[in-house]
Symmetry: C2
Subunit: 305 residues, 2 copies
């Protein structure tokens, strides 16, 4: 529930509302003078590291070797969360937080914005700073606007960054997550499902929805669950393999090799296609295979119970 | 998937199709000359035992002390799964299987039907026995008919009871289960959800549903999830406690005391109201409290995240 959560969570008089983008979380730091990018689970990702090297000027780390830059890697050439929504050509880094390696002290929202400008780093969009007791109205407006254009949600921050940030997502984004999860239902659905549905129910109550709005929300929820499952079952039925198609764009084929090894380490089964040269880079299509859903669907279609 | 499952599962030429009723599973046996009724988890339930004593003639166990009678306890005076659907006044036992305590050898479907008639025990409804390769058509018809009247589904059996039975439920019943589970969402939803949704998706594919039917199914699914959650949140918001109201009807108040103790042993928190005398029995209302959902809802309404 947004309104009571704002009151309970923040000790400040106002909150900064920034866009929460749909990509993958990345932390970039300099280790022994080398830029490295860490993704979920704290793994160094060779692909994201190559991207970070060209997207983030080295100077920021020679000036501030103790900083960790946190941001969202967004765009179509994403091996984890490809998105066409933002009109990005390959992959872009959106800075949303800077803190110190040791102790973790964060820069304030204003300081981070200044740093981003100074070093020419893209920063996530700041919608504004609003008084705490009025913010929920404003956030609801923003969320509905973002949802309508298929975007994810907001992150609400103490401008001084002493209270931890809060995330709030659009219904559209909840449903998009569910569609993805239920396409590969036996791989992802269980862990994704519950929190998304909770958000839908509480948002509906908080927004005092009437029967027509609840019906609309129910249909969207039901379709986000059933349609991708039905489509996946039909694809397996017709002999297709369910795969997630992603792509990467690298300067060096070595990065692609290292990334292949990286996925193997993570236990992800992936087939890399031959690289296609585009200008001075290589585009490589990758098929990630979600075995659990393929196997489960095949076994049920064969008559197992 | 029904059609391939029938082929894979059964080694027989035909299958018997019986009604799967919506109550709670009960096994009745005689131990040291005393009738006892076991419910889920193999616990002896004092309430179900009292009911079994009056519903099942002792003679069956003096004639066949080695038998275990399996059946569904159905009706409104049910502490586990109260249902008004069947027009039963209090609680009725529907026999669906007889097997031997030792070794577990089952009677055939025909033998069980004869025994039920001989001893005057109610048996679950037998729709018919159908050739294996045509049964799925017939079962689909039965399922749709049952679903339309809010009933649960069928159990498909090898008439000789050598292959284990298969269960197949109506979409209506899946959605009813979800409605129940999402009313007490933080107690039950996670474990209920996934299998029910899988059944919906595979049934839709097997029945070759078009866009309009998928939309209808999606809406029903979405509403079965969201509406009960929204209602529960609103009830907690208005200061109510979420409780499950059930009732029992006993001949002896001792049974009620023993049953209270039984629920305590099972970890179920329940408030028993004062008994109301009806003819020679006592009706006792019971409120079962689903703490996890109450606590979770209250905490989110307070602003916890």
């Amino acid at each position: 529930m947004l309104e009571p959560a704002l009151r309970t969570h923040f000790t400040t008089e106002s909150v900064a509302v920034e866009e929460k983008m749909n990509g993958y979380n990345t932390r970039v730091a300099s280790i022994n003078g080398q830029i490295v990018a860490l993704t979920r689970g704290g793994h160094i990702c060779p692909y994201t590291t190559e991207k970070a090297e060209s997207l983030i000027p080295e100077k920021i780390f020679t000036d501030h070797p103790e900083w960790v830059l946190c941001g969202e890697m967004v765009g179509p050439d994403s091996p984890y969360a490809p998105k066409e929504t933002y009109g990005i050509e390959s992959l872009q880094f959106f800075l949303f937080d800077i803190h110190e390696k040791k102790g973790g002290r964060p820069l304030t929202v204003a300081e981070r914005q200044e740093v981003a400008e100074e070093y020419g780093i893209q920063s996530t969009r700041l919608f504004g700073t609003y008084p705490l007791n009025e913010a929920h109205h404003k956030i609801r407006e923003i969320i509905q606007m973002l949802g309508a254009s298929g975007q994810e949600g907001v992150v609400i921050k103490d401008p001084k960054m002493r209270d931890p940030p809060l995330k709030y997502t659009s219904s559209q984004s909840n449903c998009d997550d569910l569609k993805y999860a239920f396409t590969y239902y036996h791989d992802y659905a269980r862990s994704f499902f519950y929190s998304r549905v909770m958000r839908e129910a509480f948002q509906s109550v908080e927004w005092r929805e009437g029967p027509a709005e609840i019906e609309k929300r129910s249909l969207q929820l039901g379709e986000s669950i059933l349609k991708p499952m039905i489509q996946s079952i039909k694809r397996v039925q017709s002999g297709e393999k369910l795969v997630e198609n992603v792509k990467i764009r690298v300067k060096s084929l070595k990065t692609s090799e290292k990334f292949k090894e990286h996925l193997r380490t993570l236990g992800i089964d992936a087939v890399f296609s031959d690289p296609v040269k585009i200008k001075d880079e290589y585009l490589i299509k990758i098929q990630k295979i979600n075995h659990r859903t393929n196997d489960k669907t095949e076994s049920i279609l064969r008559g197992e119970t």
